[in-house]
Symmetry: C2
Subunit: 224 residues, 2 copies
């Protein structure tokens, strides 16, 4: 009953989960996984067979794969651990939000339910990680975040910055350098038609411009 899942297998399951949720829920291809994990398609095929053997994915050769319920639970648990450790690193050890990903990639594989339960409590049962991503609860339930990238609103008005959909170090550092943090209020003053850039004010400071690239990478909610 209790199949052992290796660190490598956990990373494949996480990759499949992540890729299948990029747009609406969908099947994931071998090449998508090999790109995401930086290894070769042949390697992925081997692993998919192993994961199917262990009933963690549904796999039909030449078609995509998707997670079984057991595979989804495993992936979600790894994501829960990753995000809780990120909160620990930022809230308790004062790491910056662009410094925590690599360390959390290691910590997410530490295996102890008791540890995670206690860490969760120690951190005050946080609902979101430092990048605004929702943290699955102990039962694997995930808040569906209905926030959209700023560039999809294309309207003037006040928005609350609730998360990012681009997690690269350089992008996060860019946001820090322009003084944007989660929870800040972004007032869109103009949307420029020709390049889809945005003229905005952050927390009533001086106006600045967001390129479409930036506007498409930050998640906002309409401010109540």
């Amino acid at each position: 009953m209790c199949v052992i899942i290796s660190l490598t297998e956990e990373n494949y399951l996480k990759a499949i989960y992540t890729l299948s949720h990029l747009f609406e829920e969908s099947e994931v291809s071998t090449n998508q996984i090999s790109d995401h994990l930086n290894n070769k398609a042949a390697t992925v095929t081997d692993m998919l067979k192993r994961l199917a053997e262990k009933k963690l994915i549904h796999y039909i050769p030449y078609q995509g794969v998707k997670l079984t319920e057991k595979g989804r639970q495993t992936a979600i648990k790894v994501i829960r651990k990753h995000r809780l450790w990120e909160v620990f690193l930022v809230d308790k050890l004062q790491f910056k939000w662009d410094e925590v990903h690599e360390i959390a990639e290691q910590l997410e594989h530490i295996n102890s339910d008791e540890l995670i339960q206690r860490l969760d409590k120690f951190l005050g049962k946080p609902k979101f990680d430092p990048h605004g991503d929702p943290i699955p609860d102990a039962n694997g339930l995930l808040n569906i975040v209905k926030a959209l990238p700023l560039n999809q609103h294309k309207a003037k008005g006040n928005f609350t910055f609730v998360g990012v959909c681009e997690h690269s170090k350089t992008f996060l550092q860019h946001l820090t350098s322009i003084g944007l943090k989660i929870g800040d209020v972004i007032k869109v003053e103009e949307v420029n038609e020709f390049d889809n850039s945005f003229k905005v004010k952050i927390n009533k400071n001086n106006s600045q411009f967001f390129s479409n690239k930036v506007a498409s990478s930050i998640l906002v909610e309409v401010k109540k």
Copy 2:
């Protein structure tokens, strides 16, 4: 210059360090290592060749091994991480001292100097772990603890309980059940010649007996 050291290799280095310090510093045999790590002597021989290749140990076939300076630094760093994480688990997450070993065995392999430096600071730069073992500092320097097992004193008087030299879960639970914690004062009222058991008082409570097995597993300092 920067050789990559795997998790498995780290565990071998730690084992060699630990075994070589059991009594006075000494060479370690293949069989000692295979017993300690629960694998076969042939497996150990293979690994010793690899570690010697990487200049982490001095190895001459059929004679023992000992760590090079590089090997010692690596082992000490793993031990530092293990003991810091144990402090975290007990002080911050309220684990009991008999529950932390297995989790720390995983956490000790997390690779990030920055993380360890910040964790150390967060914990208040502790000098000892929850079992009284000294925590090496960032430069790999270790407090030499001059404490001896209680049974080597064989004298009446007051002693301070500063650590254990037996780390099994059952032994730690036994100490908890008799109400003995690090820092407690043990008053030796009698030493029984025939079985080397000890009649003692803990913190001025009622008298009780320590078998020689218990007395040989607890480290004490003469109380000033």
